[in-house]
Symmetry: C2
Subunit: 206 residues, 2 copies
């Protein structure tokens, strides 16, 4: 059964990245097949749940007595998550966090190409890790020419809404925000919040 995106529930979808992370670890150790029971044990899930999830995203059924083929599953998941389609993204805010992300090369493994950062402060303009940091004025320019739809927002909270508005104006339709502020966006624009402090706090409370 091919990856029919419609049939995959939200709950399953949210677990898929964790499967990928786990499976890559197994692949790195040379494991070829892995059973639902083993995955469940290592990841703290139930074996039945794992089988149900994998039934939805795997292009081949699991083999009795062996389990699932690790490499195939990885490929299926990467395709399912769209890592085989390249996406361009830009960063707004070239402070410490923005620069760290700009120079992080791990995105390339996920089909994401961070092409540039933008900042208001003249002192920040230049390049980081071989990638350019432009003044904010050039945002519309670059976004339109490159057809970028995704933006990573790493500005201080006080600047977040304005930066967000600028991004939306230029045609950005998906925003990953690190600012701990609720952003108002028009319909059709998606925002995902990556609030480090909240993540930490959740962890403490967990």
């Amino acid at each position: 059964m091919a990856t029919a995106e419609n049939a995959v529930s939200k709950a399953t979808f949210s677990r898929v990245p964790a499967y990928l992370r786990y499976l890559k670890g197994e692949a790195g150790k040379g494991v070829e097949y892995v059973s639902s029971a083993a995955i469940a044990k290592d990841m703290g899930l139930s074996a039945v749940g794992v089988r149900k999830d994998l039934a939805l995203i795997s292009s081949r059924p699991g083999k009795p007595r062996f389990g699932f083929e690790v490499r195939r599953l990885i490929a299926d998941i990467e395709k399912f998550l769209g890592y085989d389609r390249w996406t361009n993204a830009v960063i707004i805010g070239a402070g410490g966090l923005g620069r760290a992300i700009l120079s992080y090369e791990g995105f390339e493994n996920y089909g994401i190409h961070v092409i540039a950062a933008f900042d208001n402060a003249p002192a920040k303009i230049g390049a980081v890790g071989g990638k350019p940091v432009y003044p904010m004025e050039r945002l519309g320019d670059v976004v339109k020419r490159s057809g970028v739809k995704v933006c990573i927002l790493t500005v201080p909270r006080s600047a977040a809404q304005e930066a967000c508005d600028r991004a939306v104006e230029t045609g950005i339709s998906a925003i990953l925000s690190f600012a701990p502020v609720h952003l108002r966006v028009p319909d059709g624009v998606t925002v995902k919040y990556e609030d480090l402090a909240v993540s930490l706090a959740e962890l403490c409370g967990a």
Copy 2:
């Protein structure tokens, strides 16, 4: 130390930080009361769902015709999330991301005190944003003396499992990992993954 006060479902719990983010925004604009319908509209939820969530975490019922008192709700949520109890944390890995987090002061608003970072590379030792970066050898020392239970892992993927093991040895029981690797930990240790590439990819697929 289970999440024993669990009249609150997981689904509700996961929305609480978003409520807090939103309510702080409203408070900043001087809004005193907010209705479930308004929250729902702005946050893209259903009004009934919002009421159910708030019924569980608010110390006072909402007022007919007014809604919920913003300031009180904020206080309730902060207490609920434990932001009134201070937690110490350390960072392992003083690369770009680790340093950015070390110098980020936003954690203080959430009852989290990041006290130091640790790194293997001598070149990284020193201080960032007024906070010390120690060599890894001193990890056990500092963790034990300060009773730190929480660790933020910002090392390259290849170093993640080893750093994780070191942290667990010293008594760390909660890890927020930025490395895109499944970590094996003993029972009793919680890991939360903060995979930026995955977040971005999810956003693109959403």
